[in-house]
Symmetry: C2
Subunit: 511 residues, 2 copies
């Protein structure tokens, strides 16, 4: 603990114009940790209550139930809030004013989750369940009595445990802990909680136009995404963009007997596979002409930052049971600065006992494109369509007519899905970044990892466009939280650490 106190002291010296009285600041991080330790059951119970609410964004009624739960929960900590929408899922805008505070931190998180296939889960996705380790590594549900000490390596399994319902719980617990020790936040706090992030926040732009003036602040913290696999504290300065296209190829007008027509009718599954594999090589390198023309180069500072990150590739490969990663020697953190084209789903008839001896009439794949900084959805769409044409395809954007199918041997339907957005990449060496990193570094002796870009996506470009403030991403979830997949989970230690981290930042940001 000696090292901790010393480095906290160092931070306090760095900021010479406190606007909040020093007697309300955090004296010792142990106070927060002890509070968290003593109140684990209550914090976990709150988290469990929130995770039990189904939150697939398309189900607006469900999302409103979530919004109501959250607004009640934060109201008990002095937040005023309003639930707004632009014709789709709800967003929560909330604010807590702190007497004497002159600066404001705006915090973003989202409370919707990816769709679930409960049959694939070891425990029901909306029945939060403690498990002793990841299911993939033999994890089993814990028969917890609700009172015994919680092993910090246990995980709470549920949809959105890792992505992204934990920040609101950890933040409120941090405020509870601060209050218990008479620590006041040094800043006003604003929240924007997104109810449709997992579908690309299609109405966020409209929300920003209508309510952007309420979101003014001095710093925006994006609380989403997984932490670095080393489990060190981390600040992230960029996210990739994302867009999705569904690609459908066609065979005969109706499914055909695979024997009688197997050497006659084109097989749309075969067509689709050839088309998709023409877009990248085996290592994932994109082969589409001109596709990478817009990509922003990696700067020297960014290369250095990556070199400073503890290497995790070997451990990751071991944990994920991958013998060889794509690009072989490209570090995972460097790969995230490049674009990617990923076949995320492909449906072309059943397998196993569900297989039938037919040639499908059509086959569809869903392609997720991850955008590097400066790439734009419109440009990439143009390049991909040009590539598909070059493979001999006639492109349509609605289901093709019978006539068109009769007259064109290769027909493809492209369904560009809503919610496309570009990447975001801010300066890793701005004064604000350095200040936040210094506060984080004061918490313990492990240096905070500064990551130029996470491979995932957040609609940060919208805030970047309309709000004049630095934006920094602050992830809290364990890297192996199965985000978006089955058996999603949050490691309990990550929750306890997040409480402490939020408390230190809120206490110290404007001293």
């Amino acid at each position: 603990m000696r090292g901790l106190k010393y480095s906290l002291l160092l931070v306090f010296v760095l900021f010479t114009l406190p606007s909040i009285a020093d007697n309300s600041r955090l004296k010792n991080i142990s106070d927060i940790k002890n509070y968290t330790q003593e109140n684990q059951q209550q914090i976990l119970q709150d988290f469990t209550s929130l995770l039990a609410l189904p939150n697939v964004s398309a189900n607006t009624q469900d999302m409103l139930v979530n919004a109501k739960w959250i607004t009640n929960y934060i109201a008990q900590r002095g937040f005023t809030s309003e639930v707004v929408s632009a014709g789709r899922a709800p967003y929560i805008l909330a604010e807590k004013s702190v007497p004497g505070a002159t600066k404001t931190i705006l915090i973003y998180a989202h409370f919707d989750g990816q769709p679930v296939e409960p049959a694939n889960w070891a425990t029901p996705p909306f029945t939060p369940t403690l498990i002793d380790k990841p299911i993939e590594r033999g994890g089993k549900p814990i028969d917890w009595d609700g009172k015994s000490p919680l092993n910090p390596e246990w995980r709470l399994a549920a949809r959105s445990a890792g992505d992204d319902k934990a920040p609101v719980i950890a933040l409120m617990a941090a405020l509870d802990a601060m209050k218990a020790h008479n620590v006041a936040p040094s800043v006003n706090i604003k929240l924007i909680l997104d109810g449709e992030e997992e579908v690309g926040s299609p109405t966020l732009e409209a929300i920003m136009q209508e309510h952007g003036d309420k979101m003014t602040a001095d710093l925006m913290l994006f609380c989403d995404g997984p932490m670095h696999p080393s489990r060190n504290k981390q600040l992230v300065f960029g996210m990739r963009g994302s867009m999705t296209v569904d690609i459908t190829t066609y065979g005969a007008l109706s499914p055909l007997h695979s024997g009688h027509y197997g050497n006659f009718s084109p097989n749309p599954t075969d067509r689709l596979m050839r088309l998709l594999t023409s877009m990248t090589d085996e290592q994932g390198t994109i082969l589409i002409d001109g596709y990478n023309d817009e990509v922003r180069p990696i700067s020297e500072v960014e290369r250095q930052a990556i070199a400073n990150i503890p290497p995790v590739d070997e451990q990751l490969k071991y944990d994920l049971a991958i013998a060889e990663s794509l690009g072989k020697t490209v570090r995972v953190e460097e790969g995230a600065l490049s674009p990617a084209i990923i076949v995320k789903g492909l449906q072309a008839g059943g397998v196993g006992n569900q297989a039938r001896n037919i040639i499908q009439s059509e086959a569809t794949a869903s392609i997720n494109m991850r955008l590097a900084a400066d790439q734009t959805p419109a440009f990439l769409r143009k390049k991909m369509e040009a590539h598909i044409k070059k493979q001999g395809y006639t492109i349509v954007h609605e289901p093709p007519s019978v006539k068109l199918r009769r007259e064109n041997s290769k027909v493809v339907m492209l369904d560009w899905r809503a919610g496309a957005y570009p990447a975001f990449r801010s300066k890793i060496d701005s004064p604000q970044a350095k200040k936040l990193a210094a506060i984080m570094n004061s918490m313990d002796e492990q240096p905070t990892i500064l990551t130029p870009t996470l491979g995932g996506s957040l609609p940060i470009y919208l805030f970047e466009q309309s709000l004049d403030m630095p934006i920094i991403i602050l992830p809290i979830a364990n890297h192996d939280n199965n985000q978006h997949g089955r058996n999603e989970n949050l490691r309990l230690q990550n929750l306890w650490d997040a409480v402490a981290m939020y408390a230190v930042i809120l206490s110290e940001y404007d001293r």
Copy 2:
């Protein structure tokens, strides 16, 4: 009608040793046609009752209900029968002795159907429904009053309408029609009705070992498969073999966020697509080394028979909305004499609203291999596995261990499914073939099409191995019956034609 009587007469002259009194023979095919016309409603009602019984082979209880219905139905026409099994689905063995008959025809059909996905059907698969034309061409259900004349172009839509519940109905209607006109069969009739054809008749071999002695006959007629698209009467002398392998490729141990790991983790879907497309070219030509080594060449007689078949490729392409068929200029009937490798199903995550931004942990495809004459499953399995190894894969036949996945960059699981069997191709110019063709030709002025091989598969090799008799395939279903697919149907005229054809054959085979 003059041509008809003339050619009937011709047939009678051909056979000089009738063992059944000539006064019990069929005088005029119109008698049968009139009977069928007058009893359409009853025949259709019987067919509907049988089709209403769910018949997915894996559901043994359902299959027993079907078997009971059929044994009752045929008992009313003088058949004794027994339902036998070898630990799986039931088979029906039945026999009707005809006083004075010295020869016996053994008739094969099957009463199970492919699995159904009711959501994809326009009408419920087990609620037989009259439709005015194929659903794919705008067909709609008919609100039939049960009495008005039936348009012969209407179809009855239900699973197994085309494949393969019609023969038992048409055969019994033929016997009813013959009886109504005092026509006796010229032969004893035996039936073997298969309850598991659609899964490759896995226990047929055991059934043959136990009950083969009851199946002795002078000629075996296989009543299955679609007729030629020209709708001409048809005899078929071969079927391809069939085998299925499910192929699973692997990525990371659990599904991963497609953004964070999109340039790091191998994507099993991408792997699978590259592996599958390495097996054939775009035209379906097999590229696996040595795979075609066993294929029996096409004989001159067979080439000539194909040349005599009315060409249907252009019409087929129009009907199926295919601009260009595989092989481009290869006739559909010639293609059926070659092997094929067809991806019949591929499951690798959802599409559309079911898509999630993840990299799958595994991807599985189900591959149907159609075997040409003389190809053997064991040889093809060896060649395919050698090909897969050559692509850098470590092959397993059970789910791979984590250790194996960590140590081998490309792992594939091959699940060779039960029910593999070789092709069957008998002589198109044997005396028995010529005799049957002559009887068929006597029915009208259209010459019977002699097809060397249909592209589909039947487990005929088992009968070929154990029974010493000629085996000829006699299909009755319309070619566009959507066999195995959604909206399967039988065109009513095909049902009426089958009644007449069976009656003529039974009356005339041994006069």
